[in-house]
Symmetry: C2
Subunit: 416 residues, 2 copies
């Protein structure tokens, strides 16, 4: 194939695949992808047509075959990177995904590991409107990880109950509170009333704690009404939005994030992500799905299953997501990593060791299940964060911090 490895990274976007096959000629397979997903045919073209078509032809960048001695059937694979000319697709994520992994996703045991959109492609994206720094600026908190909490139960509860749940969480000193992702428009807690009740509770708590708070309201409804519903929530006082990005597609998020009328941070929820990332043989890698794509599409926070709790993702995948969300080589603001599920105060040393300071500690049961209630639960987390930031052992710090002590009694401390 001509021009191999001579593509221009400013105008070609690359895709990296892991392809399992016991017998395939992977180099030939890679060429088949580069031609088949771009100009369709190549070798049989007349010379003059080749000259005209060359700028549309995909290029094989690399083929790394992994064929360990004595490999069992099913273990032979290759990581293949192909460069696609931006000239072939429009500047939106559906076009990039359909081009690089549309038909190919169905062609045997193949997983999309990564995409590296070109500078030209990326120039069409504004990315996160706030990013890590913007969220910290809004809260006035720059010197510690942030703390997010989740409602305990929301379905079937009315406004006063929801407001009280919100208030108790807020009184514990959390920075961010998010709706449950399964809370949709409903008669008991309709969008605007819910926002008003919760933001009112946030103000009440703020008077007591002196601390600001962002409430991520779940943005739902028909695709064509997302913008209008976002504005309704914002007009009612919402200062953040939660969005089930995978159920609407990355472009819906990109359009929200790029809309100057939607001037609040957006948290991307990973609902449905498990349909894509867990298989080694199929789907889309978590670091791409919940890392790079979520960031390019413009989420200010990305939630994903932590390696610590019951719903688990391996730690290396968590760290690969984090790397993609904070990769300095991307010309976009950073997205806050939010490892979630099964988090209690005794895990805070581990979370900070693994993620550093630029992380959101996110808890539901670990806040609400505190023996003294949700407000004490929030305080226990804040104490755990303070302890780690001060370089203190949790058990030691807990000696004169009642809420943390009770939390540790309940859930223990995990240091590794």
């Amino acid at each position: 194939m001509s021009n191999q490895n001579l593509f221009n990274p400013n105008t070609y976007s690359t895709a990296t695949y892991r392809l399992f096959d016991d017998k395939a000629d992977f180099a030939k397979k890679a060429e088949g992808i580069a031609v088949g997903l771009t100009v369709g045919s190549w070798t049989e073209l007349p010379e003059v047509a080749k000259q005209k078509m060359e700028k549309h032809l995909g290029q094989v960048v690399s083929v790394d075959v992994h064929e360990p001695e004595g490999a069992s059937p099913g273990e032979r694979y290759a990581d293949i990177t192909v460069a696609y000319p931006d000239a072939n697709f429009s500047r939106d994520l559906p076009a990039l995904l359909v081009t690089t992994f549309g038909k190919l996703s169905m062609d045997g045991r193949i997983k999309l590991l990564d995409l590296s959109p070109s500078a030209e492609f990326l120039s069409a994206f504004s990315g996160p409107r706030f990013g890590i720094k913007g969220i910290r600026d809004r809260l006035g908190v720059h010197d510690r990880p942030l703390l997010m909490s989740i409602f305990k139960s929301v379905i079937g509860y009315d406004l006063p109950n929801l407001r009280e749940q919100f208030l108790q969480q807020a009184l514990g000193g959390v920075d961010l509170i998010k709706d449950d992702e399964i809370l949709f428009e409903n008669p008991l807690t309709p969008l605007e009333k819910r926002v008003e009740a919760c933001i009112d509770a946030a103000r009440q708590a703020e008077r007591e704690t002196g601390q600001k708070l962002i409430y991520y309201t779940n943005l739902t409804g028909p695709t064509s009404k997302l913008r209008e519903n976002a504005r309704r929530a914002i007009d009612a006082g919402a200062n953040g939005l939660l969005f089930n990005v995978l159920s609407y597609g990355f472009d819906a998020l990109a359009e929200l994030a790029n809309d100057s009328a939607i001037n609040v941070p957006i948290a991307a929820h990973p609902a449905l992500a498990g349909a894509y990332y867990p298989s080694p043989y199929h789907g889309i890698a978590a670091s791409l799905l919940l890392g790079k794509l979520v960031r390019v599409a413009g989420a200010d926070l990305s939630l994903f299953p932590s390696p610590y709790g019951s719903v688990v993702m391996p730690k290396e995948e968590n760290l690969a997501i984090q790397a993609a969300l904070m990769d300095k080589s991307l010309p976009l603001r950073e997205t806050f990593p939010v490892p979630s599920a099964g988090i209690h105060p005794g895990l805070v040393p581990l979370i900070l060791r693994d993620f550093g300071e630029q992380v959101v500690v996110n808890a539901g049961g670990g806040v609400h299940g505190h023996p003294q209630g949700a407000a004490a639960g929030g305080r226990a987390f804040r104490q755990a964060i303070d302890a780690v930031m001060a370089g203190r052992e949790l058990a030691d710090y807990a000696a004169d911090h009642e809420e943390l002590r009770l939390a540790i009694e309940r859930w223990g401390v995990r240091n590794a």
Copy 2:
């Protein structure tokens, strides 16, 4: 759990999962899902709260454990069906998917096998605007399977070339021609010009063949512009739309199908589907993804990888998709099944045996690769269809049908 198996199928939607676990108490796991994805907690609720919350509580419908004697590790599983009260979510597919498989998709080895939306939920959906019968009426063809063809190469080609490709396909007597799913808005063949050129070619062919034709133009672009782009295509003469539904989400399709201004049939392309369905342990079953959901969302045709070609899906999965697309118990028009990829005229007997008459025979290489060109390729397919409909052997029929004879010389005949 109270009320088990006593839910009302008109107001509860069910989800069926396959859950692999070597040790789990599957009955307990099922109860955990039914409670966890609805009211959040149950046993600890006071009696009066239970009375109020009961209508929001999920119900375990069935738990079928598969634990063969001498099963190897990794083989033990259960099929679990849970009923979710419609009261908990809004009447859109993102809400149904996030409720039933949002968080749960990330919880171990679990695959979503099926969803059975309630009558109440389904009443919000109009389904396919045309369906099998409506497409047949438009074409005036009721007595044989339809024939669709695909452009050979589209990227990098200009309007005269595309028009000529279209014309040659149309002259062969195909009923439907679809854009390539990777053809996006581009300077060489922009949407309206492309539609005008192709529809002009369709009219020219119609004068020669006396046969009507639907051209499925690829609908692409930003989510918020899909409706406008669809209208632009229709105003330019497009009488069908191709849509990469999985890259935009099922709701985007549902809104297009429900829009009276978009008065042409829609073909759903399965691009990205391989990221969901192939793993036995994760994702969403093909029959749900490319069958029931595509139909509920309103596609008039659903393309999926045939079991015959190079990009293959097992035949039983193909037939499960077909069953979902044509299931009489759903109060929606039927969606045409379009098994695709690797189809040549010698496969027509097999396709008709497996799918019956209500099928679209869809070919690309099998049309364009004919020794006498695309028009002859189309004729060879039509001859193969005629032969099977007349109860004749293909090889026998080919004796006095030149194009079919040449096709069989090239690709052979497969009878099983």
